[in-house]
C-alpha cells in the first residue's frame, strides 16, 4: 500500500470527479449530481472490491490520458465502449488493469457510449462540497473538473492481481424505447403533442452536457401560450421550451423551472439514455407510475446481483489457470 501519483497529460472537457452524489439539497438549488451512468460507475467500484459510492473519474467523449509518476495502482474502467490504451495494448472499457510508475494510460471515445468511469483500488484525493466530492459541472463545486497538467493523488493505492481482466457487462439492461411517465404538464400540450412524443423518433443533438440532453424531433406544441409557475425539476424531466423543443434533464439539472414538462424518464432509463450520442435516434414509451416503480425495483434487484457477482475476486493468475483446467476437464460442463 502506498501513494500513486498520476499526472494528467490530457483531459477533455467535462472530465470530472464524481462520487455517488449529494442528494438532499435540491431545496437550495443544488441537484444531486453524481455519475451520469450510475450502473457503470458502481460496476467499476464493484470490480475492484471498493466500497460503493466513493469517488471516481467520469470521462467524457473528450478522453483522458494519464502518466504514472509515482507508485502503482490497480484501476477499473467501465462505461460505454471506450478505447483503452495501456502498455502497447489496445483494449476497451470494462476492464481492470494495473498502472505502474512510468506507464501511460489513454482512455478515448470508441464506437459507443458517452461516459466512461475510472475507479482506483485506493482513495482518490479530491475537494469536498456539502459532504460530497461529486462535481456540479456548472459551478465547478465538489471534486471539480480534471484538468490537463494536474496530478491525481491516490492514497492507500494497492495492486490487486486477483481482479485483473475483463469485467462482464450487465445483461439485464433494457434495450427498447426509453420509458417515461407522462406529465406533470402533459394536459397543457396540444392533443397531438403527447401522441407524437410517444410515437415519433427523436435524435440526440450535440447540445448535450451533464445538465441535460436536447433532442431534435417533432415540435411539441403547447395548448396556448402557457407559462406555468416555476416548479421542481427532477433528473429525467422532459421539459419543452416555448419553441416546442424537448430537453431531457440529467444529473446536474436545474432544481426548479417554468417550462412545462411533458414526461419524466424513469430513473434506470435516464442512465441508459445518458450513454447515447449525438445523432442516435431516441424513442419514448409511456409507462404508468406503478409500472415504473415495478420496473425500477426489478432493475435494482438485478443490479445488486450483478454487482455482487462482479465483486468476487477472480483469484490470482495461477488460481484462475487451475480453475479453468478443472472446468475444462469436467465432462459434464
Amino acid at each position: 500500500m502506498g501513494e500513486a501519483v498520476l499526472s494528467v497529460s490530457f483531459a477533455g472537457p467535462l472530465v470530472t470527479v464524481q462520487d455517488a452524489g449529494r442528494p438532499g439539497h435540491m431545496r437550495y438549488g443544488v441537484p444531486a449530481s453524481g455519475p451520469m451512468d450510475r450502473l457503470a460507475f458502481d460496476a467499476a467500484h464493484a470490480a475492484l472490491g471498493n466500497a460503493q459510492g466513493v469517488s471516481a473519474i467520469e470521462i467524457s467523449l473528450g478522453g483522458l490520458m494519464l502518466h504514472c509518476k509515482e507508485g502503482a495502482v490497480t484501476l477499473a474502467i467501465t462505461g460505454g465502449d471506450f478505447v483503452v490504451e495501456h502498455g502497447g495494448q489496445k483494449t476497451s472499457s470494462w476492464t481492470v488493469l494495473s498502472l505502474h510508475k512510468g506507464e501511460r494510460l489513454a482512455i478515448r471515445a470508441g464506437t459507443a457510449g458517452s461516459w466512461a468511469y475510472l475507479a482506483f483500488a485506493g482513495r482518490l484525493g479530491s475537494e469536498d462540497w456539502l459532504g460530497s466530492q461529486a462535481t456540479h459541472s456548472t459551478s465547478g463545486f465538489g471534486g471539480g473538473a480534471v484538468q490537463t497538467g494536474q496530478s491525481l493523488e491516490i492514497s492507500d493505492a494497492t495492486i490487486r492481481d486477483d481482479r485483473l481482466g475483463a469485467i462482464p457487462q450487465a445483461e439485464f439492461t433494457a434495450t427498447g424505447p426509453i420509458r417515461a411517465v407522462t406529465g406533470p404538464q402533459d394536459h397543457h400540450f396540444e392533443e397531438t403533442a403527447v401522441a407524437r412524443f410517444l410515437s415519433e423518433a427523436f435524435t440526440v443533438t450535440d447540445a448535450y452536457d451533464r445538465m441535460g440532453m436536447r433532442l431534435k424531433g417533432p415540435l411539441l406544441g403547447l395548448d396556448g401560450a402557457l407559462s406555468i409557475p416555476s416548479e421542481p425539476i427532477v433528473r429525467g424531466s422532459v421539459q419543452v421550451s416555448g419553441d416546442g423543443v424537448a430537453t431531457v434533464l440529467l444529473a446536474d439539472h436545474q432544481t426548479t423551472g417554468g417550462y412545462p414538462k411533458i414526461a419524466t424518464v424513469i430513473s434506470c432509463d435516464t442512465d441508459r439514455l445518458a450513454q447515447w450520442r449525438a445523432g442516435q435516434p431516441v424513442r419514448f414509451t409511456a409507462v404508468s407510475s406503478a409500472q415504473a416503480l415495478a420496473d425500477v425495483r426489478r432493475f435494482m434487484v438485478q443490479k445488486a446481483h450483478y454487482l455482487e457477482r462482479i465483486s468476487v475476486p477472480r483469484g490470482s493468475l495461477e488460481q484462475r489457470l487451475i480453475r479453468e483446467n478443472l472446468i475444462h476437464g469436467c465432462a459434464f460442463d
Binding site: 438532499g24 421542481p232 432544481t255 426548479t256 407510475s289
Partner: protein
C-alpha cells in the same frame, strides 16, 4: 384545501395547491414542507418547496407513490394554515459604480431618480420563495411595483457573483459568475453560500429579507472579510 397529487416517474410525488401564484398557495407549500420535516416518512429522501407546489422525492425501493400520498394527506389534515414565520435576514448592498451598471436604465424605465429606485428597494420586505437556477440562487419576492422592470431581451454574460439583480417583483443575489437577463442594481458582500458546513445556505425558504445600503469603502472591507472567511 384542495391538493392535487401527480406521480413523477418512479421516485417522486408532486403536491400542487394552485395553478396560479398566490400567497395562500405558497403558505400551504411551506406549511406542508414543515409538517413533512417534522414527520418524515421512511423512504422520503427530500422535499423541494416551490411557488405553488412541493416535490416529495423518495427511494422507490423503500416506499411508493401511494404510501407517500397517504402520508402527505395525513400531514395536510393536521397542518396549520398560516403564514410560516421565517427568520429575518439582512443583506448589505452597495449601489455604487461599478457594481450597479443597470441602475440608471431601471430609473429611466420606471421614471424615477436613481435614489428613488434605491430607496424603494431598501424599503421593501422580501420573502424567500424558493431556490432554483443554480446553487444558492434564492428567488426573493417583494420588489415594489414602482421599480418593476421586465427581463432584458438578451442576457448579459459573466455577471459576477454577489450581484443584486431584479426583474418584475423578484430580486436575487447571485452566487456564481453566470449570465443573466435581469437588471443589475448593486453588489453584496453577503455570501448566500456561507461556507459554514453547519448552515451552508444563508436563507431558508420562507425567510424574510431586507437590504441595507453600504458605501463602496464598506463593501470593499466587508468583501475582504468574507473572502477570507
Amino acid at each position: 384545501m384542495n391538493a392535487r397529487f401527480t406521480s413523477i416517474a418512479d421516485h417522486a410525488l408532486l403536491v400542487t395547491f394552485a395553478d396560479e401564484i398566490s400567497d395562500n398557495a405558497h403558505d400551504l407549500v411551506l406549511a406542508l414542507d414543515k409538517a413533512l420535516a417534522a414527520n418524515m416518512l421512511d423512504g422520503v429522501t427530500e422535499t423541494v418547496p416551490a411557488l405553488v407546489n412541493l416535490l416529495v422525492s423518495f427511494d422507490p425501493v423503500v416506499t411508493d407513490h401511494s404510501k407517500v400520498e397517504t402520508h402527505v394527506r395525513q400531514c395536510l389534515e393536521a397542518v396549520e394554515i398560516q403564514a410560516v414565520k421565517g427568520t429575518v435576514r439582512q443583506v448589505e448592498v452597495c449601489y455604487e459604480a461599478p457594481f450597479a451598471p443597470d441602475l440608471d436604465a431601471v430609473a429611466a424605465a420606471v421614471g424615477l431618480s436613481t435614489d428613488a429606485v434605491i430607496n424603494a428597494h431598501l424599503a421593501a420586505k422580501f420573502d424567500v420563495l424558493m431556490y432554483g437556477f443554480a446553487p444558492g440562487y434564492a428567488y426573493l419576492s417583494g420588489a415594489p411595483e414602482q421599480i418593476h422592470v421586465p427581463r432584458k431581451q438578451t442576457p448579459v454574460r459573466d455577471v459576477p457573483a454577489g450581484s443584486v439583480i431584479i426583474a418584475g417583483a423578484q430580486c436575487l443575489i447571485t452566487t456564481l459568475t453566470m449570465p443573466t437577463g435581469w437588471s443589475i442594481i448593486g453588489r453584496s458582500p453577503t455570501r448566500i453560500l456561507t461556507g459554514d458546513p453547519k448552515h451552508p445556505f444563508l436563507f431558508d425558504v420562507g425567510d424574510r429579507v431586507t437590504f441595507q445600503r453600504i458605501d463602496l469603502a464598506t463593501f470593499e472591507r466587508l468583501n475582504r472579510e468574507t473572502a477570507h472567511g
